[in-house]
C-alpha cells in the first residue's frame, strides 16, 4: 500500500495535464504571407485570442484553440485591405471569425506537429502546424508555421481563383509570447 502510494506520487506529475498559458498580445503576432502578381506580401491580424495548453513531455494533453477576428486583417495595401473582408474573400458579414482547434500533436523527427481543424469562411478542414516551443523562465515563446490552401476554404474563389495571380498557398506564421496562467 505504501509502495503504491509512492508510485502514484511519482507518477502524478507526469499524468498531470499540460500547463495553461495566457498570450501576451503586445509581444505576439499572427501573420500570413502569399504572393500577388509574383511578389510576396505579408499580412497580419490585429485581433485574435488563443488558449494554449502545452507540455513538450505530455503532448497528448496539449491543446491549441485559436480564434481570429478576420475584420482585423491588414496587408499594407488599401485595395487589398478593402477587398479581403468582402464576400469574394473572407466574407466577414457571414463568417466574422476563423477558428483553429488542435485535435492532437505528434512528433516528426525533431519537429512537433499540431494537427487540427481550421474553420474559415464556413468550411472546416484539417490543417497541420509546425510547433516550436521554448520555455522561458516560467513562461515560454511559441512559434507556429503552416500552410493553408486558400481555395480549400473558398478564399478568393470565382474570378480570384487564378493562382497565377494570387498564390494558392498561404503561409501562416505566429509568434506567441506566453505567460503562465
Amino acid at each position: 500500500m505504501k509502495r503504491l502510494a509512492t508510485l502514484l506520487a511519482l507518477a502524478l506529475p507526469f499524468a498531470a495535464t499540460a500547463a495553461d498559458y495566457t498570450v501576451q498580445p503586445a509581444a505576439s503576432t499572427l501573420g500570413f504571407s502569399d504572393t500577388f502578381q509574383g511578389e510576396a506580401f505579408n499580412g497580419h491580424f490585429g485581433q485574435w485570442t488563443a488558449a494554449i495548453s502545452y507540455d513538450a513531455a505530455n503532448l497528448a494533453t496539449s491543446k491549441f484553440d485559436v480564434e481570429v477576428a478576420l475584420a482585423s486583417v491588414k496587408t499594407g495595401d488599401k485595395d487589398r485591405d478593402g477587398a479581403l473582408p468582402g464576400s469574394d474573400f473572407f466574407d466577414i458579414a457571414k463568417f466574422p471569425k476563423a477558428h483553429f482547434v488542435s485535435t492532437g500533436f505528434h512528433q516528426s523527427g525533431a519537429l512537433v506537429i499540431a494537427d487540427g481543424n481550421l474553420t474559415l469562411r464556413g468550411v472546416t478542414k484539417p490543417v497541420s502546424l509546425n510547433v516550436t516551443f521554448k520555455p522561458q523562465g516560467k513562461g515560454a515563446t511559441l512559434d507556429v508555421t503552416g500552410t493553408v490552401k486558400r481555395l480549400d476554404f473558398g478564399v478568393g474563389g470565382g474570378d480570384y481563383a487564378d493562382t497565377s495571380v494570387i498564390g494558392a498557398d498561404v503561409k501562416i506564421t505566429a509568434h506567441l509570447q506566453l505567460a503562465p496562467k
Binding site: F36, Q37, G38, E39, G76, D77, K78, A83, D159, Y160, D162, S164, V165
Partner: protein, 193 residues
C-alpha cells in the same frame, strides 16, 4: 529591302521599330484609358497587368531602337526649308523623349501605389520609387497627360508626313512605309541640306 537603312530609305529594322512602337503605344494608350470598363476588379487587375507588360515592352523596344539608330545610317534629308527641317528634328526629339517618358511614368505610378510589376507573368521588376500615397494622384495624372501630349505631337508628325506625301510628293513617308518603295524620280529628291 535590307536590314540597315541606306541613302534612299529606312531599313527593315528601323521600320520595324517605328511601326511596332507606334501601334503598341496607340493601342496601349487607348487600352489604358478604357481600364474603367473592366467588368470586375479581377478583370481590371488582369487588364492592368497586360497594359503594364505592353508598356514595359515599348520601353525595351525604344531603348533598342535608339541603340540601333546610333549605329545605323540615315536616309538623306528631302529638300525642305530650313525651318521645316528644324521642326522635323524637334518633333522627332520630343517624340523620342515622350516614348521613353510614357512607360517610365507608368512605372513610377505603379511604384508609388506600391503594386507589383510583372512582365507577362514571367518575371518581376523592382519599384522605381517608394510607395507614397501622396504622389499617387500626381503620378497617375502625369502618366495620362504624357499620353495626351504625345498624341498632340503625333498630330504634327503624321500631318507633316502626309503633307510630304500628298503635296510635296516626295519620299518622306514612302521610305518609312512597311512595304513602301521610294519614288524613282530624281527631281523629287534633290540634294540634301
Amino acid at each position: 529591302m535590307s536590314l540597315r537603312s541606306n541613302d534612299r530609305q529606312w531599313g527593315s529594322v528601323a521600320k520595324f521599330f517605328h511601326w511596332v512602337i507606334a501601334l503598341a503605344i496607340l493601342g496601349n494608350g487607348t487600352f489604358g484609358l478604357l481600364m474603367d470598363l473592366a467588368q470586375s476588379p479581377m478583370q481590371k487587375i488582369n487588364w492592368l497587368a497586360l497594359h503594364k507588360s505592353i508598356g514595359l515592352t515599348v520601353l525595351a523596344l525604344v531603348l533598342l531602337r535608339v541603340l540601333w539608330r546610333l549605329r545605323d545610317r540615315r536616309p538623306q534629308e528631302e529638300p525642305a526649308p530650313r525651318w521645316q527641317q528644324w521642326a522635323a528634328r524637334a518633333v522627332h526629339g520630343v517624340l523620342y523623349v515622350l516614348i521613353v517618358a510614357l512607360p517610365l511614368s507608368g512605372w513610377w505610378f505603379n511604384s508609388v501605389t506600391g503594386k507589383p510589376l510583372q512582365w507577362f507573368k514571367l518575371f518581376n521588376l523592382p519599384a522605381l520609387a517608394a510607395k507614397n500615397d501622396d504622389l499617387r494622384h500626381l503620378a497617375g495624372t502625369t502618366h495620362e497627360y504624357l499620353f495626351w501630349f504625345l498624341l498632340l505631337v503625333l498630330v504634327a508628325h503624321v500631318g507633316a508626313a502626309l503633307k510630304h506625301h500628298v503635296f510635296d510628293r516626295d519620299n518622306v513617308l514612302r521610305r518609312m512605309l512597311p512595304f513602301g518603295r521610294p519614288r524613282n524620280d530624281a527631281t523629287t529628291r534633290g540634294e540634301s541640306r
